[in-house]
Symmetry: C2
Subunit: 353 residues, 2 copies
């Protein structure tokens, strides 16, 4: 495998509405130091690929509204590698755009695609798994996904059913996918985790650019044609104008539905590197270090009295005192304050309106 062919694609167009008010449409959660560690989720995402590919091979696809934030947060990557979607069209058009764009530069590119707002605790293991998958796709015309070993019957994720009976001859930790399962109900999720061959779909994909472009040509000819027709303008001054005109014509469809569920031969690497999609305040509460009373405090000067199982995220406050709360979210940003029971966080979207 030649590292100079390795490319990283970070999808950073989400709006993160479930983390209001920390996350807002003006600055969604991938651009926020959610963990209070000094790096935003986008920066942590780029960080954990360090050494796997040259910085000029890092691509970020985002909304045109967020391009300036991306440039500010990842100043090391070339500005022309920040691809700007004029509107939201889900993951399939996003991946198609960046794939054709990369293909124009390097038809032999070997690509990892990742969301920008997840966290990984065990980065060395993450790198080992990704390198292993990249080695495999470098040699094989294959679509590989990473499957997270489930720790609970989560109904918020899609699942990947693997055929663990036969490992790939070339890589002992890579298996064929039997099927992709959409978000299950609780009973089904409980059934899945009692088996050992169901994995959470983390939305991380590894493939050669030629592989995914061919898959689009077969299964999404409409989308393919749009990006194929722009081949001449990629990397030129006319690119953005063409994209602004053509991208909105794409069907809004996820890559799982558009490609993954249709392709016959897909592979999965079962993996366990402390992954979380940080999809909810509850997920953040579970992932981050807690004090002995079960509180997560992210902020500069937070003092708690008689407070348990709370998550306090107030990075813009100079000083916070909380007394007598049990099981609450306290979040403050841009002069917007939310206090709400953790058990009621599914109503946050309603609260923010």
């Amino acid at each position: 495998m030649e590292a100079s062919n390795n490319h990283l694609v970070i999808m950073a167009g989400g709006i993160g509405s479930r983390f209001w008010p920390m996350s807002t449409p003006e600055c969604p959660k991938q651009f926020i130091d959610v963990l209070g560690c000094g790096r935003t989720l986008l920066q942590l995402t780029a960080d954990r690929f360090k050494g796997l590919c040259p910085v000029e091979n890092i691509w970020v696809v985002t909304s045109e509204n967020y391009a300036a934030i991306v440039k500010e947060q990842l100043p090391e990557i070339p500005e022309s590698n920040i691809l700007k979607e004029p509107c939201r069209r889900n993951t399939a058009p996003c991946i198609a755009y960046v794939s054709w764009r990369i293909k124009k530069n390097n038809p032999r590119a070997n690509v990892v695609v990742t969301p920008s707002d997840h966290i990984v605790m065990n980065v060395p293991e993450f790198q080992r798994v990704v390198l292993s998958a990249l080695s495999f796709t470098a040699e094989n015309d294959a679509i590989v996904t990473l499957g997270m070993k489930p720790t609970r019957p989560e109904t918020g994720f899609g699942y990947i059913q693997a055929d663990l009976s036969v490992a790939s001859a070339r890589n002992k930790e890579i298996f064929r996918v039997d099927s992709f399962k959409e978000k299950p109900d609780l009973e089904t999720a409980q059934k899945y985790i009692r088996r050992n061959n169901y994995f959470w779909n983390a939305g991380i994909f590894i493939w050669r650019v030629s592989t995914i472009v061919n898959a689009f040509r077969v299964y999404q000819p409409g989308i393919s044609k749009i990006f194929e027709n722009m081949m001449d303008v990629y990397g030129t001054d006319g690119e953005q104008t063409a994209i602004n005109r053509e991208f909105p014509l794409c069907e809004s469809i996820s890559v799982d539905y558009a490609i993954m569920e249709k392709v016959e031969e897909i592979f999965v690497v079962p993996a366990d590197f402390g992954w979380s999609d940080l999809g909810t305040w509850g997920a953040l509460h579970e992932q981050v270090g807690k004090d002995i009373y079960g509180n997560v405090c992210i902020g500069s000067d937070i003092r708690l009295f008689e407070t348990r199982d709370c998550i306090i995220h107030t990075t813009q406050e100079k000083k916070v005192v909380v007394q007598g709360l049990n099981g609450y979210i306290v979040a403050e940003k841009n002069n917007t304050l939310l206090i709400c029971k953790l058990s009621e966080e599914q109503r946050i979207k309603q609260f923010s309106e």
Copy 2:
């Protein structure tokens, strides 16, 4: 009574530590729009004396640190009427200073002294009572206090015991004071309110300037001498320098203890004009209009869900959402946030340290 002799003294040197973080040493509660009505407590205090005296007869005694805030909030009063204490010495030196200062301008001045951080709901009745007392002191060499009819066995106030058997011959609502009582314990307070001749001491005094100056001469010769010796500098460029040098030499003592409890003949006007000292968050919660769930909301955009008996004071926040709180204070100012049970508010001083 000649209205041009009427003077108003507003004592505005307090630091309001019990209302943290709304009130801070940099901007104590008298300078804050505590009620969310568009006027600070200091402004409301000046407002409710409108028509009782000319603006050039309004005096404010405050810390030198707050003089700029007073000037900004009361631009109509002459800047030279803002007297600056170089240090805190309780109310007796404060009142002595302003009394000698006024006496220099007008030895016939008839003065009302008031705290700056209380509220009055029934302003017409307040004006009627104050005018009645001013008429009385205009004709009599008397010290008059206002006694608030108590509504609960409050242990946080001093009480005035009145002799209701004989009204003054000249004014049927003015009675002699039998004695001043310091803050009582609960049992004593309960005893007081079962009688009808005990009143809360609101710290509002009415007297001719010659009367109070003479009382200081008799009962506080040390303080008197200090201010008598500066007679030549009042109203000159040398005033502040002299005050900065001499004022710190005064004993730190309240006017109640220094004068009221010692003078033989003091009068009280029992009054009922919806007074509150707003001494605690609880007092604010009681005084201000509540929604049907018992919540007081002071702030621009506060939305409550399943929330009862809370006080939300977040005037600097653009948007606040509170879900599932019962009996809490939520206060935000200058990027400082307090969430605490109303029942625990006596610990706020500790929280703020």
